[in-house]
Symmetry: C2
Subunit: 368 residues, 2 copies
Amino acid sequence: MTTLKEIAQETGVSICTVSRVLNGKNREVWPGPAQRAERIRKIARKLGYRVNTSARAIRKGSFHSIAFVRHGTTRFSWYPQELLDGLEDEIAHHGYRLAMERLDEQQLTHPRTLPRFLRELSVDGFVVNIVCRMNDSLIKAFANYDRPTVWTNFRYHQDCVFPDDFGAARELVERLCGLGHRRIAYIAFDSMPGKDEEAQSLHYSVEDRPAGYAQAMEAAGLPSRVAIRPHSGQVLRLDYADSALREIAAWKPTAIIAGNLPEAASLRAVARARGISVPDDLAIATFAPDIEALALSAISAMVLPFRQVGKRAADLLFHKLNHREAQSFPPESVACTWRPAASTGDMPGYIQAAEPAETSGQKTLRTP
Amino acid sequence: MTTLKEIAQETGVSICTVSRVLNGKNREVWPGPAQRAERIRKIARKLGYRVNTSARAIRKGSFHSIAFVRHGTTRFSWYPQELLDGLEDEIAHHGYRLAMERLDEQQLTHPRTLPRFLRELSVDGFVVNIVCRMNDSLIKAFANYDRPTVWTNFRYHQDCVFPDDFGAARELVERLCGLGHRRIAYIAFDSMPGKDEEAQSLHYSVEDRPAGYAQAMEAAGLPSRVAIRPHSGQVLRLDYADSALREIAAWKPTAIIAGNLPEAASLRAVARARGISVPDDLAIATFAPDIEALALSAISAMVLPFRQVGKRAADLLFHKLNHREAQSFPPESVACTWRPAASTGDMPGYIQAAEPAETSGQKTLRTP
DNA sequence: TTGTAAGCGTTATCAC
DNA sequence: GTGATAACGCTTACAA
């Protein structure tokens, strides 16, 4: 690795001159020094000089590094690429770097096996992505480390940034009302009935989405109808979708809000199998990150703003870093945006290939 | 932050003694020094001492940090959490850390906007996760940086680690043969017909899986049958699944290998809608990472070993780091493992709720 | 504008 | 087993 020393020797000036020139701390108004500065830069380029960030860090007293902390158990952490994107953009803008760290279950109970990044604390702050509602011990554990911390995709009473799932559910109801829907049901496969221990490991949206739905329906003076199935880790639950749709069929809904995208996909698949056109006969709406690969044109969605969540988390972290007295901030929810279903929900190719509508018989869900 | 100096002052010994004790470089066989060492450790603990990794790095001449490089465009990178897990485990084992970095398209063409980690090169090596087959310029770009580099989930003629998709497809055929299947079709929705420019942006598995299938079928003396649909970014393509199943229905397959999990899920959904029992009437097999959430009990799969891919990538990177003369290594594919469908493929709950089988009419795919 | 010199926190060397 | 001393690469008063 090229050092300032080598460049100094090559150019015949002192080390600190090289440092100053390369950091742009000379005004370079006179021709002589300006020429010399140009020569220094040229040689630095020729030698492929890169500043040694460790040496710089040791002088500046900062690691210029933020840890992104996820849970060792996959389902206890959730972040789309977008969240990392937003985070990285903002962090890079401040000249910092993102270090991926993992926190395993037993590392919290046995401090002997603390992960390296906590043993060494070689970062300036934490962005935590542990989305389950565990007991407060974890949060207190982070409070003990003298580092600014921001929680992402997690709702708590302070220091957190998360998509406004409650507001999104409300807006979904309002949008559907605006489209003329009056009988809007809510279907989810991953809510737990009770407030038992297991429920504590669920993402806040599992509570907030149905709550937002219920509140908005009540505010609109409309009757709510909810069908819940117990959680299962499967990507498609056609059996759940089928039985949930049957459960509310007699109620004749014209729109359904699904708890998440796979659930919406399951519902759509079952609707198709029954010859119900989506969204023409039955609107399906849900919540989804803005990932191209998840595009489901027939399904309306509130788009979860994970890029902004990441960006905002970084903003708040740097604010904490620059104002060490500011110890915590109130919870921040980021608004979701409405993405209506494409009008060509059922693709011509499928319509043509589908079973003749009369064979599926069941039409109870169709609107008059 | 507590430093060695403070501990030295507190205990009344020299800085380097503290350093030695804390690094366990004293044998501590005599009682006197052993007691003193204990006292030093105690005070270090009391003061909350953490080694300054920057200072250590500057002394050791290493950043103790590996960059994980992903592409700024989401679809050009792909890594499950498992890959990161395997990588982190191995990296942490060597006392290194993982820095997340992103490479955007225009940063490659305009060197002015090089990302910080490449401008500063403050890592010891690169683990690259850019899975599209772009032109070689990117690979050459990395070769220019004097850092060991390993490519993951990417097949190339050197310096890469990836799941053995070709072998997995072969094994899928062999396993299905072992179960008595003779008419095995291959269905995929994301292969491009030609070798055009767009195809260069595809993952290697899009080629390797059908190729492995074709080779194994030929080796078994069985006729191949392939149905391909053009790529679309949607999570479910029931229309594709429907038309592809129709296309090969007359051939009367007893098993289908799907190009990936969403495709398998689409096929299963359509099979269900038609009253075809999976896997009893029609076996569906595919390729999938070992993520709990993707469990689809009725579908057989070759499990993609991403944890090992990550681990192996780290292994190879550290080998390169420790033997700087070893400039490159031949491509390494990691074997996948067979995960058969659960026998209770169609859940009783669904069967009960499903349309009566006679209404769907279409039984062409059933085996005699 | 430039050079000298000190110092950041740590580790390695080498006499003791 | 210990401690003085030097060194890692860089930044920055301060004096020239």
